[in-house]
Symmetry: C2
Subunit: 171 residues, 2 copies
């Protein structure tokens, strides 16, 4: 707004000056100075806006990096957890060994949980979280999309899937 007013003002002055001598160079200089001022004002405003954008994006990125920081290590730790769970299925473990394995398993689950990693729920088949490795015919007792068996647990980090659960599903 202020810029527009300024320009009108300058135009009026210019019209009058044409008649006289000497003044034209100063007017031009003034025009140029005003243009320069306007130019830098625009540059400043753009730089300022860009600065705020950069700051906002950096904040968002930082938050996302923080939230998902454990993603890579968590993914790599999951097979160890699978193996511990498989070990617990083995017949004929002594009580000490079983207790030991359970302890390691629990502490690993706890470590993952504290970082936001949790098992994917397996109530009803959800293609976003489950991978059907086998299907069984649905019947009255087993409606379509109910899950018959979990071959391998799935995990997510907060709302982000780390790996799907491998399931047998009725359909």
């Amino acid at each position: 707004m202020s810029e527009e007013v300024k320009n009108e003002e300058v135009l009026e002055e210019v019209e009058i000056v044409d008649e006289t001598v000497e003044e034209t160079p100063e007017k031009t200089e003034l025009d140029l100075a005003n243009e320069r001022a306007e130019d830098f004002e625009n540059k400043y405003l753009r730089a300022h806006a860009e600065m705020q954008n950069i700051q906002r994006r950096a904040n968002e990125e930082r938050q996302s990096l923080q939230r998902y920081r454990s993603q890579d290590l968590a993914k790599k730790v999951l097979p160890s957890l699978d193996n511990l769970e498989r070990a617990l299925q083995v017949e004929g473990l002594t009580e000490d060994v079983r207790k030991g394995i359970e302890m390691v398993q629990e502490s690993l689950v706890q470590a993952l949980k504290e970082e936001g990693v949790e098992e994917v729920p397996v109530e009803n088949f959800d293609p976003n979280f489950h991978m059907a490795v086998q299907t069984l015919p649905a019947d009255d007792d087993h409606p379509a999309d109910s899950i018959a068996q979990v071959f391998q647990k799935g995990y997510k980090l907060h709302e982000r899937l780390l790996r799907p659960a491998m399931v047998v599903v009725y359909n």
Copy 2:
């Protein structure tokens, strides 16, 4: 700011115009325009420099977050690794159980290694990486600062210590 300048400008014009011929007001206006231009140029340059600083800091921070992203989960996984190692010391494990535990241990070590986590070396005592939980008198065969025994392994993430090694040291 720009509004204030405008007001001053107007006032000056009114005062001066009465006395003289037409040049002074233009000069003043030019001066003000030049000042305004200079002012915005400075603001622009500062904003630009600040923008680069913000960008640089955001980059540094992003790199650091990336580099140490696994720190928290890694720290929490270490006790599981300790327990697996302790389990392997137990007498009378069947060959299958031993193999199973070793497999889990190795996959956990590998997962940590891929994320930059490694054991702290234990050649000579270094207070930056070791915690002396016990000392033994040094002698000809065991010079001061050599390590007699490692109670618990230490780990670092890149160059950053996750936890010190617990050692017995000669001194």
